[in-house]
């Protein structure tokens, strides 16, 4: 490749690296902001778009809730030591189980196939 073509090509490569750097930096900041632990303790369990349970994690003894899904499947939601997590799921994904306990406001526990959402109640 001759000099005349090489120069703009290099500039494009530098630009692309720059874009990657900016995206990575912005993502890092947003990740930190979004994954901050919630100050809220009241949790809502929603299934198929309807709130089934509203529970305060501080005042609830250890519980196991079987949440039936609109598609006939189920999820088992557990409250233990002030933490809430999905312990079992009838779907093949198990993504919600692997997600572990609920921590951040912005990141609810979601089971997409069973339309289950476990999230902190929006603070006033």
């Amino acid at each position: 490749m001759n000099e005349g073509q090489e120069q703009p090509r290099r500039r494009k490569i530098a630009l692309l690296w720059g874009i990657v750097g900016i995206v990575a930096a912005v993502s890092a900041v947003l990740t930190l902001l979004l994954s901050r632990k919630s100050a809220e303790t009241v949790v809502e369990i929603e299934s198929g778009g309807e709130v089934l349970y509203t529970i305060d994690l501080r005042q609830t003894p250890d519980t196991r809730l079987n949440i039936p899904a609109p598609n006939g499947s189920y999820n088992i939601v557990c409250v233990e030591d002030g933490e809430i997590f999905v312990s079992e799921a009838g779907c093949p994904d198990k993504t919600c189980v692997r997600m572990g306990p609920l921590r951040a406001d912005a990141m609810p526990i979601v089971c997409l196939p069973n339309r289950l959402v476990v999230r902190f109640q929006k603070g006033d």
Partner: protein, 170 residues
């Protein structure tokens, strides 16, 4: 196809598809690196995709990725995650093929990172569309951050593969 694919090239494509599929299966067998973020994985089969983008014509690279996605559907136990990653793969491939012209083998890691970022965008977009809400978008920042790192690693691997095959005239 009007023009016949030479047997040598066809064999290499099939072999690479098998390699990509094996990498994919091996990766599925391991627990996810950060379980709190759904959809986050190393993306080892990206090594093969990046290599194919450089080693073959765009149509053949696309053929390889399509074959891998379809075959992985047969062995996957996780249909929705598969749908998202298939969508991500399409984005990744389209982006890499369009950037291929201005990048050389030296810039393979850059191409791989850009591909990984596009993969994550495609994956989140697909999840948002199927869920009918913007909720999955909160996972985009951690996925992009991870994608940039994992893409860099897989890109460096793919470049090493090219250097190796050239040195040994494979």
């Amino acid at each position: 196809m009007a023009k016949k694919t030479p047997i040598r090239e066809l064999t290499r494509l099939s072999l690479l598809t098998a390699v990509a599929l094996i990498l994919w299966v091996v990766e599925e067998a391991f627990p996810p690196p950060v379980p709190a973020i759904p959809g986050l994985k190393l993306g080892l089969s990206n090594v093969v995709t990046v290599y194919a983008v450089f080693a073959f014509s765009p149509a053949k690279a696309a053929l390889l990725v399509t074959a891998r996605v379809l075959l992985s559907a047969l062995i996957s136990a996780n249909p929705s995650a598969l749908l998202y990653s298939a969508c991500g793969s399409v984005f990744c491939l389209a982006g890499m093929l369009s950037l291929r012209k201005i990048l050389t083998v030296k810039q393979m890691p850059l191409l791989s990172v850009l591909g990984a970022l596009l993969f994550q965008c495609g994956q989140v977009l697909c999840a948002a569309l199927t869920a009918g809400s913007f909720a999955p978008v909160v996972y985009l920042p951690p996925l992009l951050l991870w994608g940039a790192l994992a893409g860099l690693v897989t890109g460096i691997c793919a470049r090493a593969v090219v250097h190796f095959t050239e040195k040994n005239r494979l």
